[in-house]
Amino acid sequence: MNAPGSISPQAASPGMPEKQAPPARLKVEQASYAYSATDRDAPLFALGPASFEVRPRELVAILGPNASGKSTLLRLLAGVLPPLSGRVQIEGVEASQLEPRARAQRVALVQQESALLFPLRVWEYVLQGRYPYGRRLRFESQEDCVMAGNALAQVGAEHLRDRWMDQLSGGEKQRVILARALAQQPLLLLLDEPTQHLDIGGKVELLRRLRRLADENRYAVVVVTHELNLAAEFSDQVVLLHRGKCLRVGPPADVYTRELLEPVFETSLEVEISSRGRPRVILRGNPEADSAGLDDSSVPEPS
C-alpha cells in the first residue's frame, strides 16, 4: 500500500484522522544496554536508552558511525540481549524472554555470511530456516518445502534452487541467505549491514527488494546500514545513533539535517532534497576533491 518513496503517515501528525493504523509490531521503550569487562567495572560501552516503534510494512534504518552501538541495538531487538532497562516487545511479548525456538518463529536475524565448511545445496540451506517449527530431530514436511519455495520466490531466487552454495555470486548468496530468514516466516526481519560485500548495483537491488518485501509481504524490516543515501531513499524511519546515544528517530527528512549529521559523522556535508522528497547527503570534505551523489563512504575525510 505504501508506495516506495512516500513517508509513512502514522503517528507523526496529530491532526490526521485515525486510519486503521496497524499496532506496532516491534516496540522499543527506553531500552538500554551496557558491556563491561566484569560486573564491578564501569561499563566499557553503554547504549541507550532508545525508543521507537516499527509497524508492519515499515522499513526502518539504523544509522551511525562505527562503534555507535548499532549492532548492540539490533541484538536487543532480536531478543539475544536482555535490555538493562526498558522493554523490547514483539507483538506485546518481551523479546528476550521468549524461548529460542519461539523467538526464531517471530524474528529472523540475517547476519553477515560465514563460510560454509561442507558443500550444501541452496534448497537445503533455505530449508534450514524451517528449524524453529517442529521437533528437534526433524524431517521436513511438505509444508516446509512449500514455505521454503515461497521464500525463494519472494527473493526471486527460485532458479537457484539446485545450485551449490559455494558456486553462487555475492549477490545471489545474499538473496539465498535472505530466503532462509524468510523461510522462518518471521514477523520481524532484522539485517546487520547486509550490503557490506556487495557492489553498488547489488546494494541498490537489495534495498529495493527489502522495500518490496515490506510493502507486498507485510514484513517489518529493520536494517543496520552505513548507506546514508540508500537508507534515505528506501526507509520509512531512521534511527540515528552516536556513541551509544539515540539522537533522533523519525522519517528521513526529519533526521537528515546538516546540524545533526555533521557532528555525528565528523565530516562536512550537505543535504539536498530530491524531487521525490527524499533527502540526499553529499559529502564535502576536502574542497578540491570530487564527491559523487551516491558515494556513501562514511570514512571521515579530513576537514
Binding site: 528449524y131 530431530l137 521436513e140 518445502c145
Partner: protein, 340 residues
C-alpha cells in the same frame, strides 16, 4: 526439491548393511586356517538351527572363537571411530578433525602403559586403564576448552592438541625409563591391533550397548549440527541450543573414541576419511551422514582387518598399517577433488 526423508535414509543404510554383510561373510571365509565357503555356510547354518555337535570342533573354534568375534570387534571399532570423526568435524568446524585430535588416544595410551607397568598380567587391565586414561583426558580437555562457560571450537582444538603433545611426551619418558621387556605389547597397541585375545561375547555385548547409546545421542543432534555448520550465531538465532549440542557431541564422540582406542589401540585415517567419503556419496546432511558413516566405517575396518590377516598369512599385519596404506591415497584424492 526433494527433502531428506526417513525412507531414503533407511534404504541407503540397507544397501550399506548389505555390503557390510557381504564383506563380513567373505571375511569369515578367509584366513590362515583353510576353510571352503561351503564349510563356512554349513557351520553357520548348523549353529543357527542348533546342531552344534555336528560341526567339527576346529571349524567351531575358528569361526565362532576367532573370526566372528574379530569381525564383531572390527564393526564396533569402525562404527565408533568414524562416527566420532564426523562428530568432531562438526564440533570443531574443521574438516581435518579426526577422533585423535583432542588427545583422547594419547590419554588412553598413557593408561595402557601404566597398566602394563603396575598390573601386567591382569586380564583386561590394559583395556580398562586405557579407557580410564581416555575419560580423564576428555574431562581435562573439556575444562580447558571452555570459553565463557561454553565449548569454543578454537580453544577446544588448542587444548586438545596441547594435551596430546603433553601426554605423548610423558609416554615417551615412561617408555625410555621403564624396563623394555614389559612394553612389547604397546608396540602393537600403538599401531592398532585387533588380534589380541578375542573378547568374550558378554563384554562385546556391553560395549555394543555403550556404542549404540553414544551414536544415538549424536544422532539426535544431527539437525542441530546441520545448522551449526552454517554458522554458530545463525544457528542460535534459529533456536538451536548450541551449548547443549556441543556438550552432547563432545562427550559422545570422546566416549566413542575412548571405547575404540581401549580395545584396539590407535587405528588411524578411518575417523578422518570415512565421513568425507560418505559426504561425497550421500551429502553433508548429518541425518544421513551419521548412519552411513557408521556403516562405512564398519565396512572399512572389517575389510582392512581381513586384508591385514590374509595378505601375508600367517604373519599378521596391524590393522592400523592397512588403514594408513589405503587411507593416505584416498586422503590425497579427496584433497585434490576439493580444490577448485
Amino acid at each position: 526439491m526433494q527433502p531428506l526423508t526417513i525412507r531414503r535414509i533407511v534404504l541407503t543404510c540397507a544397501v550399506l548393511a548389505a555390503v557390510l554383510f557381504a564383506v563380513s561373510v567373505i571375511s569369515l571365509k578367509l584366513g590362515a586356517y583353510p576353510m571352503s565357503a561351503r564349510d563356512v555356510v554349513l557351520t553357520l547354518v548348523r549353529r543357527a538351527i542348533g546342531h552344534t555337535d555336528a560341526i567339527p570342533s576346529d571349524f567351531r573354534l575358528v569361526i565362532f572363537g576367532l573370526r566372528l568375534p574379530r569381525i564383531a570387534l572390527g564393526i564396533l571399532v569402525g562404527v565408533a571411530l568414524s562416527v566420532s570423526g564426523a562428530g568432531f568435524q562438526a564440533l570443531l568446524r574443521n574438516p581435518l578433525a579426526d577422533p585423535y585430535v583432542l588427545g583422547v588416544s594419547s590419554g588412553a595410551a598413557l593408561g595402557a602403559i601404566l597398566s602394563l607397568v603396575f598390573t601386567p598380567h591382569v586380564p583386561l587391565a590394559m583395556q580398562g586403564a586405557a579407557f580410564l586414561g581416555a575419560a580423564a583426558t576428555i574431562a581435562a580437555v573439556y575444562f580447558l576448552g571452555r570459553r565463557g562457560g561454553q565449548l569454543d571450537s578454537a580453544t577446544l582444538l588448542l587444548a586438545g592438541i596441547l594435551s596430546a603433545s603433553f601426554l605423548s611426551a610423558i609416554i615417551m619418558f615412561l617408555m625410555t625409563t621403564l624396563s623394555g621387556r614389559d612394553l612389547r605389547g604397546m608396540a602393537f597397541w600403538l599401531m592398532g591391533d585387533l588380534s589380541t585375545a578375542p573378547p568374550d561375547w558378554n563384554l562385546l555385548g556391553s560395549l555394543y550397548v555403550v556404542l549404540l547409546a553414544a551414536v544415538g545421542a549424536i544422532y539426535t543432534t544431527s539437525s542441530d549440527l546441520n545448522l551449526i555448520l552454517t554458522g554458530e550465531q545463525e544457528a542460535r538465532h534459529l533456536g538451536v541450543n548450541v551449548g547443549r549440542v556441543k556438550l552432547v557431541v563432545y562427550v559422545s564422540a570422546s566416549l566413542l573414541t575412548g571405547l575404540a582406542v581401549s580395545v584396539s589401540g590407535s587405528i588411524g585415517y578411518v575417523g578422518l576419511i570415512v565421513p568425507h567419503v560418505m559426504r561425497m556419496l550421500f551429502g553433508s546432511d548429518y541425518r544421513i551422514l551419521i548412519p552411513t558413516t557408521a556403516l562405512g566405517g564398519a565396512i572399512a575396518i572389517v575389510a582392512a582387518d581381513t586384508l591385514a590377516r590374509t595378505v601375508v598369512a600367517p604373519t599378521e599385519l596391524p590393522v592400523g598399517a592397512m588403514t594408513a596404506l589405503a587411507g593416505a591415497p584416498v586422503f590425497i584424492y579427496l584433497l585434490r577433488r576439493r580444490l577448485p
